[in-house]
Symmetry: D3
Subunit: 317 residues, 6 copies
C-alpha cells in the first residue's frame, strides 16, 4: 500500500465539525460524461496500485444503475461506459430494473457488493460478488423485499457474517437492525441495533453508511441519519462505536452529527440537503480517513478525518 496515493488535506483551522470537506469538492460533478447525468453514493476500496469502486450513477433517463470505476488517486475517477450486469449463481440473468447505494467490501479474495435493487417492484437488499471485476454474480435474494441500507461487516465474527439491515419503506421503517448468517445466503437472528432518536438530526430514520472500521475501541460506524422538516428530509452523517467482539453492543453513539448539509452543492440539487456516506478509505499507518459521501443525489464529495478524531468526538458528544 506504500505506493498508493492516499487522498488527503489537513484540517482547516476554522473547521467546526470532526469531518472536514475537501477544498475542491465535489470530486465528481453533475454531467460527468455525456451519458451520465449524475454520480453520487459510491464506494471505493484499495485495488492494485490505486482504487476500485462501485458508483451509483444515473444515465440521462434518470434510472439509477451502478457502474464500475477506477481511480489512481481517490480524487479522479474513470467509470465504465456500461452499468454492471449481474448473473445469478445458476446462470439466470438478473432482471432488476434499478440498482443503487452500493457498498464494496473485500473479504478474503472476494469483493462483495451489497446494494439495493428491485424485487417484485420493491426495494430489496442484494448481495453480489466478483473476484475479477469482470464477472458479477448475484445471490438469490437472501433478504425479503422492502429492505434497504444493507452494510456488511468486513469479516466474520464468531463464525457469522453480520449485516446492518433496515426496513425500506414502511411507515415504521427507520431503525437499524443486525442480521446474522453463516454463509451469506441464509440470514437470521435479527436484532435491533440502534433506534431513531426522539428529536434531532436522526429522528426520522437512520441507516447504514460506510463499511464498519475496526479500531482499538471497537467497530467505528459511520452512518446516516434523517430529520424531517416541513420542507423535506435532511440527511446527515453520524457516528457510533460497537463492541469489537459483539457488535450488537453499542458502546458509544454521538448525539451530535459528524457532518451535515451546508454547502450549496449539499443543500441544493437533485435531492437537496443530503450528505450520504457510502465508504471510507483508511490509511492504516496514520489512521487518516477519506470519507466518500454523495451530496444532493448529484455528485460525489470527499470529507477527511482521522480515526482518533472520530473516536474521540463520538465518545465525547
Amino acid at each position: 500500500m506504500s505506493k498508493r496515493p492516499f487522498p488527503w488535506e489537513d484540517r482547516p483551522k476554522d473547521a467546526v465539525d470532526p469531518i472536514w470537506r475537501y477544498s475542491l469538492n465535489p470530486v465528481m460533478k453533475r454531467n460527468p460524461t455525456s451519458k451520465l447525468s449524475q454520480v453520487y453514493n459510491s464506494s471505493l476500496v484499495p485495488y492494485e496500485d490505486g482504487y476500485i469502486g462501485i458508483f451509483r450513477a444515473e444515465p440521462r433517463d434518470l434510472i439509477t444503475k451502478i457502474f464500475l470505476g477506477r481511480s489512481k488517486d481517490g480524487l479522479t475517477f474513470d467509470l465504465d461506459e456500461e452499468p454492471i450486469h449481474f448473473v445469478y449463481e445458476d446462470g439466470r440473468m438478473d432482471d432488476s430494473q434499478y440498482q443503487y447505494d452500493p457498498r464494496l467490501i473485500k473479504i478474503g479474495g472476494t469483493y462483495y457488493i451489497v446494494y439495493c435493487d428491485d424485487f417484485a417492484n420493491l426495494a430489496s437488499i442484494s448481495i453480489g460478488y466478483t473476484k475479477d471485476f469482470k464477472t458479477f454474480i448475484k445471490l438469490a435474494h437472501p433478504f425479503p423485499p422492502d429492505s434497504r441500507n444493507g452494510v456488511l461487516f468486513p469479516q466474520k465474527i464468531n463464525g457469522e457474517y453480520l449485516m446492518l439491515y433496515r426496513i425500506a419503506d414502511s411507515a415504521a421503517a427507520g431503525d437499524i437492525y443486525l442480521a446474522r448468517s453463516k454463509d451469506l445466503r441464509y440470514w437470521g437472528e435479527y436484532s435491533l441495533l440502534m433506534k431513531r432518536t426522539p428529536y434531532g438530526w436522526g429522528k426520522k430514520k437512520i441507516g447504514g453508511g460506510c463499511t464498519p472500521i475496526l479500531t482499538k475501541e471497537g467497530w467505528l460506524l459511520i452512518y446516516h441519519g434523517v430529520m424531517d422538516t416541513c420542507n423535506g428530509l435532511i440527511y446527515s452523517i453520524g457516528g457510533a462505536i460497537l463492541d469489537k467482539d459483539d457488535p450488537s453492543i453499542v458502546k458509544y453513539r454521538s448525539k451530535a452529527y459528524l457532518l451535515r448539509p451546508e454547502r450549496s452543492y449539499e443543500t441544493t440539487g437533485h435531492v437537496g440537503n443530503v450528505c450520504f456516506p457510502c465508504s471510507a478509505l483508511v490509511d492504516e499507518e496514520t489512521g487518516r480517513l477519506a470519507i466518500y459521501y454523495g451530496a444532493s443525489d448529484d455528485c460525489i464529495c470527499l470529507g477527511f478525518s482521522t480515526i482518533d478524531i472520530l473516536l474521540d468526538y463520538i465518545k465525547n458528544n
Copy 2:
C-alpha cells in the same frame, strides 16, 4: 386415528360454495369464558385421542395472546386459563407484548408454532416449538420485523424448510413470498409465490392460511385474500395448488373464492367481514376436511369440504 372423532357434516343440497358451514357455527362464541372476550383465528392438530390447538384469544383488555386448548371432538374446546409463555433457547424470557394468528405444525416429534408477535414494536413472524405442550421455546427472531402471515410447510422439501412469508404493513405489502431454510433459524432465497389480483376478492392483499396439505395434485393451499371497499376490508378464503416437488410453482389458483363472509357472525362483530382460515384437519381415509376459520375476529367457525372437491373446484374456477 381410528378412534378419534372427526368433526363432520355432509354437504347441504343448497350449498353453492365448495366449503360449507357447520350448521351450529360458531363453534366458539364471544365471551367463551369470564376472562376471555373472544377466541378466533386458531389452529388444531390431532393429538392423543383428540386434538390440541393454539388459539388466538383476547382477554378483557383486548390485548391479543395465544392460548393452548384441547378438544375431544373438534367441536368443543377446553382452553388454558393463562396464555402461552415462551422462553428463548438461551433461557431469556420472551418480552413480546402481543401474539396472534398461530399455526401449529407437527414435524417429526416436535410441534412448531408459527405466529406473529411484536419485535421492536413491529409485527414479526416468530417460530416457537414444544415437545410436551408444557415448555414453549422461541427462536431468536429468524425473520426481520414487519413480517406477517408465516405458514410453514409440514415437511422439508429437497432438504429445506419452506415458509410462506408476507410483508406486514408497508403500503407495498400484500403478496405471498416463499422463504427457505435448512435449520429454521436462518432464512434466505426469498421468491415471489403469488401476487394480489388486479381486481376481485384478493386485490388488496393475500396471505397464508392453513398449513399446506399434500395431495395427489400437489400442495393444497387454503389461504386468505382481502378486498378493500369504501367501507373497509373483506377477508375471504381462497385456494391454490402448488407443485409437490417444487412448491414455488403454482399449478392452479382459483379465481373464485372458496368461502366469503355472508352470515351475520361473519359480517358483523369486532372486525366485520372476516373469514380467516388458520388450520384444516384432514381425514386421511376419506379426504374430508374440517377447516377452522376465525369470523369477524370474534369467534371460531368451522367449514367442511373434501380434498377432491377443493382440488376440482380450484382447477375449474
Copy 3:
C-alpha cells in the same frame, strides 16, 4: 302498458319516510345463482309485456360486471348467464375489465346504457346502446377517465342531451355537474349543478341515481348522498326538482333524505350502510313509483312512493 303488472304495496301506516320499503325486501338476495355472488345496483325499464333491465352483479371472483335480465312483474328476475359484451362502433371488442352501476334509458327506439367501466385503469363514464338487446355497442370514450355516476336525461332539451356527471376519485370529487351534447359523442358546456352540503347525509359526496322523471313541477331527481363517519360511509337517497326547460336550475332540493340504511340488509353486507338508487318505474296513470336500489352492495331492494308524495316532500323539507 295496461297489461303490464306494476310492482306495488300501499304505504304502511307507521312509515316515516316518503319512500317505503317492499315488505319482502330484498327482491334479489345474495347468491341468487350458483355463479353469481351478488346482484345489486340495477336499472329496469318497461319492455314488451314486462320489464327488461341491466344488473350490476359479481360472479364468484367478485369482479363486477353488468348482466341483462328480464322480469314479468318487477319483483322476480331472470338474469342471463353471461355478462354483456360490448363492441365499439368500429368493431373493436371492448377490453374493459369491469363494469358497474348501469342506468338504462330508452330514447326513441334505442336503449342507452350509461355506466362506469375502466379506461386506462381509471373509472370512466361509458355510453352503450342496443336496439335488440342482442348486440351492444359502446361509444369511443365520450368522457375523460376519472368520471363516474353518469345519468342521462331521457330526452333532448333545447336540442341537447344532458348528462349528470361526477369526478370519480379525486379528493375534490363529490359534486354533481351537468354536461351537454348534441350527439352523445362530444360533450361540453360543463356546469356545476349541485354541491355537497356542509353537514348532514350528503356532506361527503353526492351523485346521480335514477333517470330524471319529468313531472308537472319539473324534473324529479332521485339521487344519492354520502356521509362519512369514523367507521365508513353512509349512502342515502335524496331528492331534488330541476326546472323543466332549463335543468341547470335547481328549483327545490330536500334537506331531508328520502330513505337511508336502516334494515339489517341495508346496514350490513358486502359494503354496509348503502342504499343506492339506480332506477325508478313510473305508473303514468297513478303516479306510483317503484324505486330499485342496491343495498349493501349485496342485494336488490325495492321502495315505493308516488310522484306527488315525493314532490311534496322535497318542496317542504
Copy 4:
C-alpha cells in the same frame, strides 16, 4: 328522591361484565319520532319527580343537534320538538351549525351543559347553562377550537372547577387532560390525566364519558376508549378512580373494559361498534347506577351496575 322511580334490573346470572344491559334495550330506538332519525349520546339528571335530560339527536337532515327531554321513569322519554337554542351572555344568538355529546351537570341551582359545537368550522367544547330549562345561555368560547369530550366535575375542588379536556382531531389527539378554572370562563393549568394504552381497547383514543361520581374511594370515572381495527373504530366503556382531593392523581384504572359493543344494536347501525357513555344516575341509598350510553350513534341504551361493583372491578382488573 324517595318517590322518583329509579330504573333498574338485577344482574343476570350469566353476566360476565361489571355493567349489564337492560333487557329491553334500546330504550330509545331509531326513528323515535317522524322528525328525528336517531337519538343517542344523551345525559340525564334527577329533576322534580322524574328526570330531565339533554339528548343528542339528528333530524332527518342528519345534522346533529341537542334537544331537551323529560322522563318519569328513566326508561321512556318525551323530547321537545325543537332543538335547544342558546344565546350568548351578551345577547347575541348562537350561530353554531351543529351541537353534540352533551353532559348535563347540576352545580348549586344551575344546570350546566357541557357539549361540543362548531367554532370557526372546528369542533370545540362549549359551556351552556340554564336555571329554568327555558332560557339557555352560552359562554363566549372558554376553550379554543379543536377540543372535544369536555366533562365537568360536579363541584369545585380547592376553589377550582375541573374539566376533562381532549384535543379533537389532530393526529396527536387521544389523551385526556385536566383543565382548571375559577369561574368557568377562563381556563388554565392544563395537565395530562390519562394517556391512551399502547395496546387494547383504548389504544387509539380515550375521552370523558359520564360526570365523575364521588365515592368513598374517590372520583369514579366512567369514560370511553377507542380501538382501531382494519375495519374501523370500536368504542368501549372503561373505568378509573381519581383521588378525591386531587383528581389529577389516578388511583386505579381498569385494564379491562366495563362494557363493549356486542349486541346487534351496538355493532351495527349509523356508526357500528360504538358504546358511548354520557351520564349515569346514582341511587344514593343503594349505590345503584343506571348508565346511559349511546349505541351505534343510533339509539339510547341503558346499562346497570353498582358503585361497589365498579370500584371493586376497577381495583382488581
Copy 5:
C-alpha cells in the same frame, strides 16, 4: 417574417443536452416590476414585426394570473399592467379567481389561449380566444373540472381539433390523453396517448408543454415529465414524435430527457427543480427553435435547439 429577429445562440461546445441554455438566462427575473413578484410559464407567437405572448405572472399577493406581453426580439418583454380579463361568449364576466400555464396558438386569424383556471374551486382547462388582443372571449367550460395541461394542436386534423388532456389532481392523474372536437366546444373520443414511465424522470406524471410542431417526421412534442423524490418533485423537459396524420400514434419517445433543472435559477426559488416548457418559436428556414420554459416558478428562461437535433435525439435515445 424576414425582418423579425429570431432569438438565438449557437450550441456551446461543452453542451451535453440537445437543448442548450441561453447564456443570459433568465430572460425575465424575479420582481420584473414593482407590481409583479414573478413571471414564468409563458407562451409566445410571432406577431407583427415581433412577438406577442401570454405570461403567467403573480402580483405581490402571489395569486397567479395571466398577462398579455409583447417583445421585439424574444429576449426582452413588455407586459401589460393589468391581467387579462375574459368574458364568456354570452357576455357574462369570467369570475375565476386564478389563471395559469397559458399556451397561445394561432389558428386561421384567431389566437387561442388554452390555459387552466378554477371551476367550482377545481383546476380546469379553459379555452379563450382573441382576434385583436383587446377583447378576450372564454368558452363555457368545454372540459370538466379537475383537468389540466391542455395543449391544442395548431390545426385541425381529419376535421377535428385535437387537445392534449390531463387529469389534474387525482391520485391517478399523470398520463397524457388526447381529446377530439369538431368545434372546440364539445369534446369526446378521449384516448390515452402516453403513460408515465415506471422509473426515471417521468415516473410521477407527464403533461403537455409546447404547442406541437409539425415536422417531416411528424408532430414534435416538447412536453414535461415529473419525478418524485423524498424531497419533492423534479420537472424536466422531454420529447416525442407523433404520427403526422394520426397523432394518436406515438412514433418515437425519448427515454432521455431533453433538459432538466441544473442551474441555481432552476433548482432553487419559489418552487425549486422546475423546468416547464410552454412554447417554442420556430425559425422556418433554419429549423432553429427558441424554447421558453419557466424555471422554479420564478422566472422565464430560454433554451435553444433545432428541429433536426431534437428529431435525431428523440429517435436515438
Copy 6:
C-alpha cells in the same frame, strides 16, 4: 434610549418591497459557534444601553433550544453557552425536551417569554418570565397542547391580556385566534381573528410574528403566512392593523406580502423558503423599524422599514 445605537440602513432606490434587507445579511450565520449549528427565529428588546434577546438555536444534535443573548448594536450578538433552564413557579424543574420560536415582551418591570415547547409530546404555547435574566420562571401550562405561535400584546387592554393563538398541527390548523386573560394563567373568550386566504401567500396557514406595535392607526401586526407548493412550504411576512381599543377588529390587512424569500440565504438551507419574523425594534422618535426574521431556519436576518411605510402599504395593498 438616547445613547443606544439603533440598527439602520436607508431604503435602497431599487427596493420593491416595503421591508428592505440589511446589506450584510445574515447578521448571524450558520455555525456561529463551535457548539451551535444555527441560530434563527429570535426576539430582541432594548435593555440597558443595548439589547437583550431570546434566540432559537440548535446545538449540534439539532434539538432546538432557546438561549439568552445580548447585543450592543442590534447587529452583532453574544449568546450564552447554555440554553435557558426554566423552573415552574412551585419549584419543579421544567422537563420539556425542546423549546422554540420565543417572543420577548416587557410588561411593567417583567420580561415575558412566550414560546413553544413540548407538553405530553405535543407542541404547546408556554409562558415564562424573568426579572433579572438569571432566573426564568415558567407558568403551569396556561394553554392546552397542540397550540403554537403565541404572541402576547405588550399591555393589558380593557383589563385583559391578549394573546394571538394558533392550533399547532391539526389538519384544520392555520388561522389566528385571540385569547384573553386577566392573570396570564387562565385563558378564555377565544375568538377568530384572521383566517387564511383562499389563495396566495397565506393560503396554507398564518400565524403570529412580532409583538404588536401600537401606532396611531392601531396595533401594527407583523405576522407570517404560509403557502404550500408541490415542493414544500413558503413562509412570507405580512401585515395587518388591528383596532387600538378592541384588537379583535381587523381594520386593514394587506393582500400583498411585506417580504418573502428571495435571497439564497432565504430560499435554501435547513428549511428553505422561510422568512419568519419574531421581533421588531422601534425607534420611537423616527418610527424606524428593525425587523428580525429567521431565514431558512438557519440564520438571523434583519429587515428595515418605518411605521409610516408599513401603515401606508398595508392600507393600500
